[in-house]
């Protein structure tokens, strides 16, 4: 009997817990998934104290399976909403009342910051954004120089739909074509707060030379989204965009990376270019201390595929030429960085991480000063390429 009453009291306690749990906030917080507007992308522009934001909300009717099968008509998979305000959050909150559905940030995956914001209060924007619990830190982040409105309302080819590009996995898209590395918000933030090295942020741009790559559809020219270059940050400050020539050094001095085409000039007396594909580069940084200053040797090695042989060049000659071109690109990017006091190639973290143990806390600033790059800091650049694939024919 005692056992029974004990058991019954346990049952009552359990039932009470179950009923009380209905009072928890979560219990009545449910919403059917079609009664929610999902923010996919956010663009932020800034102009003298005024924030302008664009929200791309997922339009399920445009991106469903049936839609893509049926018409083939170009349609944006996003509703684009526009809001302004004197602060970032005011601009966001200006949008909410107009939305017929609850706005959810749980699928937020693309953040585009305008150059104006990057030069101005981008830190406040990031802080306000990430303070909201629904926002994930893993969204892809880009900078831009273009008018934000044009980016959001671009008329993209079906397969170039931003939803399909950047929701999925930009890294996979970069395997061909896009070679500028995409970064996630958390990666970018981590790099921004590093005391050494530099953070890079890819630039998103519209291809203004319309009709160059994609044919017209129904007299409407397609726009094209490109990632032409990267912006460089040092000590959380935006330094500017790299030129295309300076970008090349960034490609070469990264471990891993994608298949990068290398166009070599034709041999004397020939008009045919030599084209190589370089992939899976392996970069080693060997720092060396000279009194109050560190120098670095770079060793870059990797396999090369021969795409177009050209005429009048031997295999060894091609490789040597390619190695020389790469060394030139790397040194040029390095020099540009030194001119702007930025370590674009990110070679100093090697010392900072490796030697941190040797430096007592009070001498940290001294170490950082020693790590400032000078024109002669980059000593040797050893490039070692191996030709692994020449197609069906061997090089004569």
């Amino acid at each position: 009997m005692n056992f029974l009453s004990h058991r019954m009291s346990a049952v009552w306690k359990l039932a009470a817990c179950a009923i009380l749990s209905l009072l928890l906030t979560g219990c009545w917080d449910s919403a059917d998934l079609d009664n929610i507007a999902y923010v996919h992308s956010l663009g932020v522009d800034y102009d003298h104290g005024h924030y302008k934001i664009w929200l791309g909300l997922i339009d399920p009717t445009k991106s469903g399976i049936e839609e893509s099968k049926s018409t083939g008509e170009t349609s944006r998979a996003l509703w684009v909403v526009y809001g302004t305000g004197r602060s970032f959050l005011e601009a966001v909150n200006a949008i909410y009342p107009s939305s017929p559905k609850r706005v959810s940030w749980s699928h937020f995956s693309l953040l585009i910051l305008h150059e104006n914001v990057l030069r101005g209060p981008y830190k406040e924007v990031i802080e306000a954004l990430t303070r909201y619990r629904e926002v994930r830190y893993t969204s892809w982040v880009y900078g831009t120089k273009d008018t934000m409105g044009n980016l959001f309302t671009a008329n993209l080819p079906v397969e170039n739909n931003p939803l399909y590009y950047y929701v999925a996995n930009p890294k996979r898209v970069q395997q061909f074509g896009y070679v500028v590395p995409s970064v996630r918000l958390n990666e970018w933030q981590r790099a921004l707060h590093e005391p050494v090295g530099s953070a890079i942020l890819p630039q998103m741009a519209l291809n203004h030379q319309r009709d160059v790559h994609w044919p017209k559809s129904k007299d409407k020219p397609y726009d094209e989204l490109l990632l032409p270059t990267v912006g460089v940050f040092r000590h959380e400050r935006f330094m500017g965009w790299l030129s295309h020539r300076d970008m090349l050094g960034v490609f070469w001095a990264r471990t891993g990376g994608t298949r990068v085409p290398l166009f070599l000039p034709p041999a004397p007396g020939s008009t045919e270019q030599v084209i190589l594909y370089i992939h899976h580069l392996h970069v080693e940084i060997h720092p060396m201390q000279r009194r109050h200053h560190w120098t670095y040797d770079l060793k870059i090695s990797g396999p090369v595929d021969l795409a177009q042989e050209g005429q009048g060049r031997a295999e060894k000659e091609i490789i040597t030429l390619a190695e020389r071109v790469i060394e030139r690109d790397v040194r040029r990017t390095f020099r540009t960085g030194v001119m702007h006091h930025a370590d674009i190639l990110n070679i100093t973290p090697k010392v900072y991480r490796g030697a941190l143990m040797l430096w007592p806390p009070n001498t940290r600033q001294k170490l950082l000063n020693n790590l400032e790059l000078r024109a002669d800091s980059l000593r040797n650049v050893n490039i070692h390429l191996t030709l692994v694939h020449t197609g069906m024919r061997t090089v004569d």
């Binding site: 749990s21 979560g26 917080d29 449910s30 998934l33 079609d34 929610i36 399976i65």
Partner: protein
């Protein structure tokens, strides 16, 4: 029935009048035939009682009567004991008490009384109604043995002995039910089964005090440790081959009259997930199937709850493209997802029940109607989304990869409870439900063996047969029994 316990009188007229008053007037299927026999030169009256339709009269007259006649003629002492000793028919026995004689009469034996002789002869030549040992429908195997148990305990024992002709297989009879006198045979392997387990079951079988016992499910309820649980605490089988395998593992079987289902004890959750075909196939395939079955168990328990929790509370856990197609599917459905899930699962249970109750041919029609027509119509009419129909369909199919029907039924209820919790609290509710479920199963200890055995307590040797199935020749024999006895000695 105070008279029934007394001795059978020597006077035939006394016996006959008693029989007429108590048996023959009430039970008209019992027939009495009077005969006159030559006993040592004197003619004497006799009475032969039999049950119509059950007693094998042809055999009785061919053997018993033919054998009896010369024996009685040469008889000097008026004792049945001497006659039985000299008789060449093993089915004939001598009893003195009414009680035993009457019990046997209703099993279809013939009873022979002779005037002036105390006691009675019982001829156990019975042709009981029985069917052939066909393959059970619930437990079919593609390869291997295709015979199944029937409703007669002796025939079932014969099917078992055919596989294990050894004195190590112990068989003990228990008679349960004051009305039904149901015979229950406790069978186990003497050297392998844990003696504690055997004595526990023996004690429980002895302690049973009921009027009737007709189904093995009743016996199961009478023997189980915990009454308030929906999980089965006994396994069952209708396959003699499975029973033989079970005995060699050191587990115990209870064969029961009037039921073709043999109870198996003890049992763990993982053992309930084993199917007869697991031992008829190549072992690498069986490993895959076992894993698949466990995945099926998880799907059938958690899929509707997980779907509801994800779509109602945690949309961020759904990949973007899946989310888009789910949104499009749910568009225009008037019910919130939890209600939709409960409606669809309820409909499924309804169709299942209807399919079970109808004759087999019509049952298939219901299944087809339910899945194809109603499911499609529900989606088209906007009552349910296509996503939900898919979820319920997958869940329903997954439930039936579980070989044990009782466990499959238990899953149905647990699934509903977890679904309700997930509808209120999202993933938190689902996890609370899972914790309560695991806690409950861990608290089950049927006959001292942990229900979650190879996981908790962790018994590595048992993984090779319960979770995966290694090569049969490598499976260390009787591992189950060893782990169970070890478990018991630990306690």
């Amino acid at each position: 029935m105070s008279e029934s316990s007394v001795l059978i009188s020597a006077s035939l007229s006394e016996n006959e009048s008693w029989l007429r008053d108590h048996i023959l007037s009430n039970c008209q299927d019992i027939k009495a035939v009077s005969m006159v026999w030559d006993v040592g030169g004197n003619m004497q009256n006799s009475l032969f009682l039999y049950m119509e339709g059950t007693t094998d009269l042809k055999q009785v007259s061919k053997t018993f009567f033919r054998e009896l006649e010369p024996l009685l003629a040469q008889c000097v002492e008026r004792k049945f004991v001497d006659v039985v000793k000299r008789m060449r028919i093993p089915e004939v026995t001598y009893y003195e008490q009414w009680k035993t004689v009457l019990a046997l009469l209703f099993h279809g034996t013939g009873i022979f009384f002779l005037d002036g002789w105390p006691g009675a002869l019982v001829v156990e030549q019975v042709a009981k109604p029985s069917r052939s040992p066909d393959e059970p429908e619930m437990e079919t195997a593609i390869r291997g043995a295709h015979d199944g148990f029937v409703e007669d305990v002796m025939q079932n024992l014969a099917l078992l002995r055919m596989r294990m002709p050894t004195p190590s297989v112990v068989c003990e009879f228990f008679e349960i039910g004051t009305l039904t006198h149901t015979r229950v045979a406790l069978v186990y392997l003497k050297d392998t089964a844990s003696p504690e387990l055997v004595s526990t079951l023996q004690a429980r079988l002895h302690a049973i005090q009921v009027d009737e016992l007709t189904e093995s499910a009743h016996l199961e309820e009478l023997l189980e440790d915990r009454k308030f649980t929906i999980f089965p605490q006994f396994d069952y089988t209708e396959r003699p081959s499975k029973l033989a395998a079970i005995l060699s593992e050191g587990r115990i079987g209870m064969i029961q009259d009037t039921s073709a289902t043999v109870l198996i004890a003890p049992v763990t959750l993982m053992q309930l997930l084993q199917a007869p075909d697991d031992y008829n196939d190549r072992f690498p395939f069986v490993v895959v199937v076992r894993i698949l079955r466990m995945i099926g168990l998880f799907i059938s328990l958690f899929l509707p709850a997980g779907y509801v929790a994800a779509t109602e509370y945690h949309q961020d856990t759904i990949p973007a493209f899946l989310l888009i197609s789910l949104i499009n599917a749910h568009k225009g459905v008037p019910f919130p997802t939890p209600l939709e899930a409960m409606i669809m699962l309820g409909l499924f249970e309804l169709f299942r029940e209807a399919g079970l109750r109808l004759p087999r041919a019509a049952g298939q029609t219901i299944g087809l109607l339910g899945t194809v027509v109603v499911g499609d119509a529900a989606v088209k009419a906007g009552i349910a989304s296509a996503g939900m129909t898919a979820v319920v369909g997958i869940t329903a199919i997954s439930t039936y990869v579980v070989p044990n029907y009782t466990l499959a039924n238990a899953i149905t209820i647990v699934r509903m409870v977890i679904l309700i919790m997930a509808s209120f609290m999202g993933y938190v509710g689902l996890i609370i439900g899972a914790i309560l479920l695991i806690g409950h199963m861990a608290s089950l200890n049927p006959l001292g063996v942990s229900y979650l055995a190879p996981f908790s307590p962790f018994i590595w040797e048992d993984w090779r047969d319960y979770i995966i199935r290694i090569k049969w020749t490598r499976m260390r024999k009787k591992s189950a029994a060893q782990s169970q006895t070890r478990k018991r000695s630990d306690r």
